[in-house]
Subunit: 192 residues, 2 copies
Amino acid sequence: MNMQTRTPPSSPADNGYGFSDRIQRQLEHAAHLCAGQGGRMTPQRRDVLGLILTATTPVGAYDLLEQLKTSGRKPAPPTVYRALDFLLEHGLIHRIERLSAFVPCTHLQQDHPHDHSHGPAENCLHSAQFLICRSCGGVTEIADAPRVLDVLKSICGKKNFTMQSASVEVEGVCEDCAPASRGQKGPAPAPN
Amino acid sequence: MNMQTRTPPSSPADNGYGFSDRIQRQLEHAAHLCAGQGGRMTPQRRDVLGLILTATTPVGAYDLLEQLKTSGRKPAPPTVYRALDFLLEHGLIHRIERLSAFVPCTHLQQDHPHDHSHGPAENCLHSAQFLICRSCGGVTEIADAPRVLDVLKSICGKKNFTMQSASVEVEGVCEDCAPASRGQKGPAPAPN
DNA sequence: AGAATTGATGTAATATTATTACATATCATT
DNA sequence: AATGATATGTAATAATATTACATCAATTCT
């Protein structure tokens, strides 16, 4: 009832999670982005996004819940799900359906200091493509998306189907985990 | 402990669900297919597949469970999930991740009397593409798949990612539900 | 400033989807 | 009939997600 006293999102004061400078920059960027769309980056939402940005693999809602509990607060599921909904709606994170887990949208990851150049929610339809590694659990968002999307658009066009969102999830084994086909590493023995 | 007395899958005796002739033919076809892969189409699996084939929209595991209960048996979740796993592994159904629900694979739907021509599980990697209508809940499997798949394969190739399965789920509004853009029907007023 | 409105959060309970672990039964062969 | 593999029954529980309602904070209007 005292450290809760509203600090603007950009302040370091409400960062009880030791987010790195890099992630704090990404959080500020995100705050600017959703401010531009009339959204408010509250501490809750900021914390959830920060935790997702920090993780190296997709994070589940209840993982987030656990992590949030460590910080004095004792949130319940709706707290997390509401934050996730907000972040999804503003195009700051994606949900990996196969994993029931969440990853940051790439456009937050690739360090630009802070430009307000694109509007992820309004103009572009919600769509994303992922490569999911069964061995390391890592997820890569495919930047090469337009090609996939174009094909899908053309198919939908033919069928008079109005596309509102689309997700592509490819599951397999990533380069790093591939069992030494050309003298690389080899953490995973036999995927399936 | 008595009506359970094993009847071969093709017998009408274990059909307590009034499956139509058409679906019974599809079930036989499916039985042949998975027999060819060394799988056994047991009554449980047959019933689950029949129910999925009968439905016009994706069916959830617990829906299936309810329906199975009506027939004297009182199955528990594992019964259904095991049947679903089997049907998935043999390429007879697909899981729609966004809906946590299941649909038949199209190659069962398009009435061929019974040819044993293709092997859905061994050679082809597990992949499917769907158009999901938010208005009517209908799901269409995209037959046009190769194009999408080719793009994905090429992307994976570039990244040295070994694709094992892939799913594409496009959500939107289908032709029939589109609010009369050219004097069609118009069951759904305003999707989102 | 005070009242009204909207948006965000807290909280408890519950719903939905899925799995684990272990016992039992059935099938295919020897 | 005995065996080993496959399939099913059963109870308990785990993991994910939502509902409903109370409260609190920010914004706007007068």
